[in-house]
Amino acid sequence: MVSIRRAEMQDLQHMQHCNLWCLPENYTYKYYLYHGMVWQSLLYVAEDINSGRIVGYVLAKQDEEDEEGTKLEHGHITSLSVLRTHRKLGLANKVMQSTHRDMDKIFESHYVSLHVRVSNRAALGLYRDKLGYETFDTEEKYYADDENAYNMRKWFRKKPEKQ
């Protein structure tokens, strides 16, 4: 039985733990605290209510500037993962939709961006097909093991015309 809710400060150390069990990209507690102190409303967790364990999370933030240096408020997914034991239940989809809503409504984001390994088919399926992300760019050797990343975006507001 998994409950999806906004993260509380006590959850941060359990989010860190969940991340260490899922992904090779890890961060110290301070980075989670930083997200929590500034963008708490964008942090969502999936909690197994039988055990009280955090089994999935999304860690997200806001940025005022575009990659091109222009001012354009947007969200960014720092990290997203779900424990293997709780895959295929649609949990990633649910935490993502919650954070999308809050990026849009609270921060008036124009879009949300994320990076994904080009080989990660399951994640690509979620982002592209279920959540409506588009590939914006490919970043060469983005990951520590030299794998490329797709830089993906999902637009909440009208895309500005290219100049």
Partner: protein, 790 residues
Amino acid sequence: MKSTELNAKQNNEFKSLMRLLEAKDYKKGLKNSEKLLEQVPDNQEVVSLKAIFMYYTEEREAGLALAYQAVLKNLASDFCWHIYGLIQKAEKNYIQAVKCFIQAINKGEENLQLIRDTANLSIHIRDFEGNNWLRQKLLNSKPGMVVNWVGFILSQHLIGNYAGAFNTIKLTEDVIKKDIQNPIKKVEINEFKLYQIQLAIDAKDFQRAKQNLLDFKNDITDLVSFYELEYEYFIKIGDNTSAIQSVKHLLDLQPQNWKYYQMLQKADPQVDLSIYNNTLVQGRLLAQKEGDSFLNSFLQFIDPFFQKSLPSLFREIKHLYTDPNKIEIMKKAFETYLDKSQIEKLWALMLLSQHSYQIKDYNQSLELINEAIEHTATLPELYLIKAKTLKKLQKFKEAYESADRARQLDLADRYLNNQTIKYASLANMIVVSQDLLSLFLKDGSDPYELQMIWFELNIGRTLLRLNYLGPALQQFNLIFKHFQEMCDDQLEFYQYSIRRYTLRSLLQMIDAIDKRHDAKYFIQSAGLMIEGLERLRVRIQEQRKIEQKKLTPKEKKLLAKQQQKEQEEKLLKEQFSIEGHIFSRDIQKRFDLSGEQLLDQLKTQEDIIKMQNRFAQVLIHTNFNNKEVNFQAFKQMVGLYINQQKPLLCAKLLTKLRNNETEQNRIVNHKYQLMLIQFLNKYQGTLLPYIKEYQQDLIQFDQQFWNDVQIKTQLDQIIKRHCEAIIKEKPFEENLESEDLQFLQEYPQAKVEYMNLKQTTHPFYKYDPNIEWQNHQIKEYQEKQQTQPL
């Protein structure tokens, strides 16, 4: 004092020293400060500067001492206090640092940066009164800055001065309006308004809360927070009808949040949740059904999982195993899938294996999972279930092998890799654990920098089991360092969050960090730390004895035995690379993986006890919701406090043990309780006046305490006989004496135990060689039997 005053040239020298300090050029600073001191040896401010340069050029202790000397020789100098405070802050001795900075501020230091830093430090050490005073000072110096106003509001909130805070908010709104240069952002308005509502609710100023909720609704874009606060307000004023409306809004926003359904039930106890058609609610509602109605709903619930091939089903229904009437029904439901398609048969076998595991029939569970593996050999989940079962059967090596099979089926999956590490360390395979971990570590990184507490705990536990005390203790020590790091991480965010108006998050952080030790990993590692230290203490004690005494033949024999054991340990050490061979020498040294530096601080019994007490002090105040975890840690403190003759702590510990009694730990738990009670009996007369001094402890003290002493003693006798009955393979009741029966009937608490005895299916009273704790208990009993017959 003329001789100490600086002339114009010297003054310039002094200023250039300050610049060197800012530029962190400590070496040059030290040289130049020594030169200046040749001219003005008694100028304590120059001495202070030399001290801080020394401190940062690897003369830590001398620098610290010199800075202290300078303060003593010139107590009136704000500069000397300031420098000494900076060193204390670098030492992470924040309480001292705040004291020094406040001295400096009181003596005229007007540096706003210093006042701000001190204010943040004062929140850090939770000196909210001091923080309030400093924020006021900041506000007085720069009333045009909005951030100083917001900081002042928070400081009033923290000391409970709500009226003051409301007043300041009003003034702040005006300052915000006037500050055209830095217009407040929409998201900041949203946060500030939400904070004001929370403040009104916290202050129980419900009139204001009501008004705020009405007035601010249009400014607030975070509807989740808004309706949560609105709900809280309506519940507090007893308006449940409106609270129901708030929670319905919340359910529209987050229909998968279980907390909201609980809130709905609280506001409307009659509510019919079955109208909410999602797996979360439907799964929960299963618990309320019985018989055929349960079977039908259960089949309906599990079928989609079979159709979509979801291996996570068991976790979704595990909570139903608390009801014995449902267990057979669920088994039957799973069995109906055995005769359907091949894939459904596979899931059925897997679930039946998990079912057997859950009812503690591990052999059956193993048989079923093997059958499932025979059916499909490529599903990692099956091997993990097998590993879990093998662990229960104490076949650790095989459990590791099974987990490793799972890992090899999907090498890119970190979860499978971590599981394999866990089983490897359970099988004492330290090198394998480290190698596996390195597969997911980037070059040059290590688990200690990344605060990989779960790994440290597993390795530490293994090292302790193998009696490598130094390295084991250091693993636990590193875990505590991480908890300390968590606490220190806050420092950067106080001011940050005030500037961003995220005061609600700030308040939550303060609360969460204060409760950081209420965590499974902390409690487990603190318990193990105390245990490891105890072994170290005994080892040192015995060495002392041998050194001091002339040996009798018997002792010589013992000594030879011990030396042989040490020899074996040494051999083992050579087999395992306990220092962590995959890590560079630099990492090994930086994190003291051999534990040498730690052992250096633990040379005498007094050192060890001091450190044990440090952990015990934190541990005894923890509050965590897993009784088994709590008990395993708390029992480590029993011997510690009895040896130190600490009756009040023993009394407190007794309460803790009793609150964490479970079916699984009952017998061992009683043993420890009894030890405490026997010790406390000595204090019966003198304890009472002693207790009066400690009202707080008294509150936790059960009024029935002295009565219960007798009850527990007698109950313990009965438990002894219970063990006896197990060994003689007699039904328990045949082993009871008539007075036992009378006793069991007499005391209500004991009666519950007695009822349990009558149910032969109760696992506690059924001897099962696979239940580890029973074996342990019986072994302990038999050993006792040999030395002191009943």
